[in-house]
């Protein structure tokens, strides 16, 4: 009595799905013993000899040499002298195509039952609990975004007063300015407008340069500009009477809840950079809350207007009263900054302005 046993492409590793039939070591009709090599297969650069599981005779060679065979598919049929265990659950084994007809026809062991399908759990994408985002451009704390979304407020209309120009929750809650805020804003605006009015008819000229600097922070730029003015006293004169100013006073423009605030830094180029940076940081934060120390409210001899946080390149340059220079710093392409200088032509010549800007660029 003999038994037909299909010798299959063996699974040789956890990840193997197919193997290449390299060669048969036997031919039809050969008598083989248990352990004799029947054929050779290769996968993932590993080749392996497949041995006969029992004594018997080779009945049929099924595969084609060089062909790729799925694991579990028969490669050779052996007529064995003794019964060899072989399992084929009839159904589709995991990740395998259906067994070929030839296997179904084989009178192997009566172990033919259905393989229950492995149920793959349906994976539900996790639902992210994210706050409603009104704008990507403006920084705002989560609760400010939630509050804005709930009340239909456009965050772009909110003046940020938090660190790094972040809209805080209180900014949203207090977005409707108070009576006092409105009054102070109006007074501020009138003051600035009157000043600009005074300088409107002054003959002015503007120059712009694009420059790449290693440190583009406001303190560094402010300090460099003060140094230029110190070396060019003719540009640090009073716009009232042309008298020399005893010090360099750099005004900056800060947006606050009471309108524009203009703190003045006196002789910033004489401070070391760490001290100046700290001073600018604390002063700016205080100014955003409408608080500027008394000592920093006067004495400006020039103005530096940093437009970069508004992603602007430049604005119409204007001189403030009694100042003969004004500098605006804007964004430029490729990480560079745009530096624009406006001068009062009553006290300076064109080449004074061009030279000062050139010196500033060199200083930077």
């Amino acid at each position: 009595m003999s038994f037909r046993y299909p010798v299959v492409m063996p699974k040789m590793s956890m990840t193997m799905e197919t193997g290449e039939l390299i060669d048969y070591h036997v031919k039809v009709g050969d008598r083989v013993s248990s352990g004799d090599v029947l054929f050779e297969v290769m996968t993932d650069k590993i080749d392996m000899e497949v041995e006969s599981p029992a004594d018997g005779v080779v009945e049929q060679l099924i595969g084609e040499v060089g062909a790729t065979v799925d694991i579990g598919k028969p490669v050779l049929i052996l007529l064995t002298d003794t019964e060899v265990m072989a399992f084929d659950f009839g159904g589709e084994p995991a990740q395998l195509p259906p067994a070929p007809a030839i296997v179904e026809a084989l009178p192997v062991i009566e172990a033919v039952v259905a393989v229950p399908q492995i149920s793959v759990p349906e994976v539900t994408a996790p639902v992210a609990v994210a706050p409603v985002i009104v704008s990507h451009t403006y920084k705002a704390v989560p609760k400010a975004r939630v509050a804005a979304a709930e009340t239909g407020i456009d965050l772009r209309t909110i003046v940020p007063t938090g660190p790094d120009r972040t809209i805080m929750y209180s900014d949203v809650i207090n977005r409707h300015p108070t009576e006092e805020q409105l009054k102070r804003q109006a007074a501020n605006r009138a003051l600035i407008a009157r000043g600009i009015e005074m300088t409107q008819n002054i003959p002015q000229a503007s120059f712009t340069r694009s420059v790449t600097v290693s440190d583009s922070g406001l303190p560094h730029l402010m300090s460099a500009w003060a140094r230029v003015l110190r070396s060019r006293p003719e540009l640090n004169v009073s716009g009232k009477d042309g008298s020399l100013n005893p010090q360099v006073g750099v005004a900056t423009i800060i947006e606050s809840k009471y309108g524009s605030a203009l703190p003045v830094y006196k002789d910033p180029d004489l401070l070391d950079m760490k001290t100046l940076s700290e001073l600018v940081s604390t002063t700016s934060t205080a100014a955003r809350h409408g608080k500027v120390p008394l000592a920093m409210l006067s004495g400006a001899t020039t103005t530096v207007f940093d437009l970069r946080s508004y992603q602007m390149t430049s604005t119409t340059p204007r001189l403030f009263p009694h100042q003969v220079t004004a500098l605006t710093i804007g964004e430029s392409s490729g990480g560079a900054i745009a530096v624009s200088l406006t001068i009062d032509l009553r006290y300076c010549d064109f080449y004074d302005g061009a030279g000062a800007l050139d010196l500033l660029v060199k200083t930077l």
Binding site: A128, V129, A130, P131, V141, P142, K143, A144, R145, V146, G162, P163, M168, Y169, S170
Partner: protein, 334 residues
């Protein structure tokens, strides 16, 4: 309950808990290095060797892998071992038994067996013992599913939590800050077998301006800061999770929703630290929408703990750091 004002040290409280558990259950025993006549490297087992017997307070050779493995085997066989590892740093020697065996047996074996094991070990810096005796390792263990991780911050909690840990049918890693051993807590330690369930965060004090989550010794430092800042009008909710794993986030969510500000503090290095899990869970939750300030964390530097006292101090958060961070969060963000 004769006295309600017993001010014990954490070492005394832990010893009391072990004594109670050994009186209650014959299957509880302790094994570890120098825990017998010596009384433990930090004196935690103290006189238990004399109160019980050498069979129940077993002195072992210096053999961390062997004794943790033996504890796992005993736990699988009806015992409730408490292993003391002299310094948490040495758990590295026993990590196969902790992480691959004890932690996984219940799950991996389909629930057929379980490992009621407590591994007690001191951790933390501040003793000048340098890099191999000073680590905070709760994150190692919290990252292994199957381990419960307890980090007590005071004697009363330590006692109640240890009693629950011994009762627990699962492996529990109990990490004790060595600077806390010798100091009494703020609260008295209740007498008797008062248990504190694992997986319940404790609200140490309540406030409305800031939620401060801290673990282990950082709870004590944070408490001092909270008291000090109260005088400045800054009111702080301080939460001690007590159990790192499982982690009870509910009081943290509730508090963040009230205060809108979150500061988390741990002594261990920040990279991959436990506090990041707290932050991640807040970020994933609806409490995120309540934040009115960026979340701030304070943790150890990402360096081995150095030796010299000034270097060691610089490596982990100090009271002043917590104070500055708390004040800054509340003052700058409204």
């Amino acid at each position: 309950m004769s006295t309600d004002n017993r001010m014990l040290t954490m070492a005394e409280a832990l010893r009391e808990a072990m004594g109670i558990a050994m009186d209650e259950r014959p299957e509880v025993f302790i094994l570890g290095e120098d825990i017998g006549i010596y009384g433990g490297a930090f004196g935690v087992t103290g006189d238990l060797y004399h109160r019980f017997s050498p069979e129940r307070v077993i002195d072992t050779p210096i053999s961390e892998l062997g004794i943790v493995g033996a504890a796992v085997g005993a736990a699988l066989s009806g015992m409730r071992p408490i292993v003391e590892i002299q310094f948490s740093d040495f758990t590295a020697q026993a990590m196969d038994q902790i992480a691959n065996q004890a932690a996984k047996i219940h799950f991996m074996l389909g629930g057929a067996l379980h490992v009621p094991l407590v591994l007690r070990t001191p951790q933390g810096s501040g003793t000048g013992a340098a890099a191999q005796h000073s680590q905070n390792l709760e994150t190692w263990f919290a990252n292994v599913p199957g381990l419960k991780v307890v980090v007590p911050s005071n004697p009363a909690d330590a006692k109640g939590l240890l009693l629950s840990a011994i009762d627990d049918p699962n492996p529990v890693i109990f990490l004790e800050h060595k600077l806390l051993y010798k100091i009494p807590g703020r609260d008295p330690v209740p007498e008797g077998a008062i248990r504190i369930p694992l997986g319940v965060s404790k609200v140490v004090r309540e406030g409305k301006d800031l939620t401060l989550v801290a673990t282990g010794i950082m709870v004590n430092k944070s408490f001092e800061v909270a008291e000090k800042l109260a005088a400045e009008g800054i009111s702080i909710t301080l939460i001690d999770p007590r159990t790192i794993s499982p982690l009870d986030m509910n009081p943290i969510f509730e508090s963040v929703e009230k205060t809108g500000r979150l500061l988390v503090v741990q002594e261990g290095p920040s990279h991959g630290g436990f506090i990041n899990e707290v932050i991640a869970r807040v970020s994933e939750s609806s409490s995120f929408g309540s934040l009115i300030a960026p979340i701030k964390r304070l943790a150890g530097m990402n360096i081995p703990i150095p030796y010299a006292p000034q270097l060691e101090k610089a490596a982990v958060p100090q009271i002043e750091d917590i104070e500055v961070a708390a004040r800054e969060l509340v003052k700058s963000w409204r």
